[in-house]
C-alpha cells in the first residue's frame, strides 16, 4: 500500500499548447517528502474518494525538501480521461497523490549522464538535469520535440546551457543521436523517456553502437498500446470457480466482472496495487513494477495488465 497525500493546486501553467503544468502544495504550506530524481507520483484523476483512474506523472521540480510537487501533463483526448481531468483543474482544487516512487534513478557512480527526451518525456529528464546541475555532474541533454511545442524548454536551457541540443525533425534526430552515442566517454549512462517508439529508436541505436544494457535506462509512461492478448481461464483456488478471460479483457476486469474485488489504482501496470498470488500456471508479465527476479519467480502477477502464458492460471483468490 502506498501513503497518500492530499494536496491542493497552487498554480496551473498552460503556456505550452496541449501541456499543463500543475503546482501542488500541502494545504498547510509545509515541506513535502523529498524524492530521488526521476521519481513519479500516481495522481488520482478525479474527486477524492471516487473510483477514478490513477495516472503516473513524473515530478519535475526540486527533489530536496520540496515545497511543491510539479507535474506536466499532455492532454490526450483519446485517453482514459486522466489528462483531461488534470486540464480542468483550478487553483484551490484538492488532488490525491501517492508519495513519490522511484523507478528511474540516476546511477550515482556514472562518469557522465546523457539524457535523451522525446516530447512530454522531458519531465523525468528535467528532474535528472536539476540534480546533475545541483551536484556538478557531467551532463548532456538531447531534446526531440515538435517545432513550437516544447514543454520546459526554458528550464532546460537555463540549467543545461550549451549542453542542450534540441531536435525537431526525425532525420536530424537520428543523425545527431548516432553521433553523440558514438562519442561518450566510457562510464557514461544513458537515460531516455518519451513515446515507446522514440525510446525504441534510442535504445536500438545505443545497442548497435555497443552500449551494454547496464548503461541504458528507460522510463515508460505506463504500458501504452498493449496487445489484447490470448484468451485464457483463471481458476480461483478458494472457490474452485473458473473465470474466463477473453482476448481484449484484462484479468482484473474479468475478476471484477465475476464479483471479486481486487485492490487497484492505476490499472496500467505501474502502481503494483493489484498484485495477486499465482498458485499454478505461468504468468505472462506485462507490468513495469515487478523486478526481473520477481517475474522469474512466477508466483505473483499484476492482474491489470498481465495474463497467462498458457491457457490456464490458478490464483490464490
Amino acid at each position: 500500500m502506498s501513503t497518500s497525500l492530499s494536496l491542493v493546486v497552487a498554480a496551473v501553467d498552460d503556456t505550452v499548447p496541449g501541456v499543463r503544468s500543475v503546482r501542488l502544495v500541502r494545504p498547510d504550506g509545509g515541506t513535502l517528502p523529498g524524492f530521488t530524481p526521476g521519481s513519479h507520483v500516481l495522481v488520482t484523476c478525479g474527486p477524492p474518494g471516487t473510483s477514478a483512474v490513477a495516472n503516473a506523472y513524473s515530478l519535475t521540480g526540486d527533489s530536496v525538501a520540496p515545497r511543491a510537487y510539479t507535474i506536466s501533463v499532455l492532454r490526450l483526448d483519446a485517453g482514459r480521461g486522466g489528462s483531461r481531468w488534470v486540464h480542468a483543474l483550478a487553483t484551490g482544487d484538492r488532488v490525491e497523490v501517492t508519495s513519490p516512487r522511484s523507478a528511474f534513478p540516476p546511477v550515482l557512480a556514472a562518469r557522465r549522464h546523457l539524457l535523451v527526451a522525446g516530447g512530454i518525456g522531458v519531465t523525468p529528464i528535467l528532474s535528472h538535469l536539476r540534480s546533475a546541475v545541483r551536484w556538478g555532474r557531467d551532463v548532456e541533454v538531447l531534446y526531440a520535440h515538435r517545432p513550437g511545442a516544447a514543454a520546459h524548454l526554458e528550464d532546460l536551457r537555463d540549467l543545461a546551457g550549451d549542453a542542450l541540443t534540441c531536435l525537431t525533425d526525425r532525420t536530424a534526430l537520428g543523425d545527431h543521436l548516432e553521433r553523440r552515442l558514438a562519442d561518450q566517454p566510457v562510464g557514461t549512462h544513458l537515460y531516455t523517456c518519451g513515446p515507446a517508439g522514440f525510446m525504441d529508436t534510442v535504445t536500438l541505436a545505443a545497442r548497435r553502437l555497443g552500449w551494454p544494457d547496464e548503461r541504458i535506462h528507460v522510463e515508460h509512461f505506463g504500458v501504452d498500446d498493449l496487445d489484447p492478448g490470448e484468451s485464457f481461464e483463471a481458476v480461483l483456488r478458494a472457490s474452485g470457480r473458473t473465470v474466463p478471460v477473453p482476448s481484449g479483457t484484462s484479468l482484473l476486469d474479468a475478476l471484477e466482472g465475476a464479483g471479486l474485488s481486487v485492490p487497484n489504482l492505476c490499472r496500467q501496470g505501474v502502481c503494483g496495487e493489484c498484485r495477486v498470488r499465482v498458485a499454478a500456471g505461468t504468468p505472462l508479465h506485462r507490468d513495469l513494477v515487478l523486478s526481473d527476479a520477481e517475474k522469474a519467480a512466477a508466483d505473483t502477477l499484476l492482474c491489470c495488465v498481465s495474463r497467462a502464458a498458457d491457457d490456464r492460471l490458478e490464483l490464490d483468490l
Binding site: 561518450q184 566517454p185 566510457v186 562510464g187 557514461t188 555497443g210 552500449w211 551494454p212
Partner: protein
Amino acid sequence: MNPALELTSVPAWAVRPSTPPCDPAATACTAVAVGAEAVDVATTWLAGAVAPGRLHALASTDEALAVVDAELAEARVGWRLLVAGPLTAVLPLRARALAGGLVDAELSVATTTTDDLLVTCAHCAAVTSAPTHVGGVVPCVGCDRRLLVHHHVSRRQGTFLGYQVDAEQWGTEQWGTGQWETERWEEGA
C-alpha cells in the same frame, strides 16, 4: 564445506585458465596482455573481434595498470577491454577497470595460470602472493598468521580474503567470525 562456485564472488576464470570470446557488439577493443603466454590468448581474442582492436603486450602488472588507466581515459562507450595474464595480474587489472567505470559486460578476463593467488589478510591487511587455492592455507607475510583462503574475491581490491585458521577449533564459531570479517573487510576495501 565450500558453496558452489556460482554462488560466490569467485569467477570461473579465477579457478582454471580460460579464454573468453570478444563481445560481438563491440565498436572498438583493446587487449592488455601480461606475459608471453597471454599474448597468444589476446591475439585470438582480437582475431575474433568484429571491431578494430589494439594489443598491448606488457611484462609486469604495474605497466599493464598504467596502460589500462590511459585506455580508460580515452575510451568511448562501445569499447571492450580484455585483460589477459596470470590470475595475480588480471585480478588487480579488473579491479582498476571496474573502478574506472567499466561494467562487467565491457570487460573480458582471460587467465593463463591460476596457480598463484593474492590473499589479503583479514587481520593485518597485508597482501600475500603464494601458490595456493580457495580452501588452502598460506602464512601471512604481514603477521605470520596461518590464513585460510576464503571463497571470496574482492572486486575492488582484486585479492582473495584470508583469515586465521585454527585447525583444532574449526567450526561454526570460526565460520561466523569469518563472515563478519568479510563484511567489515568489504566495507573498508
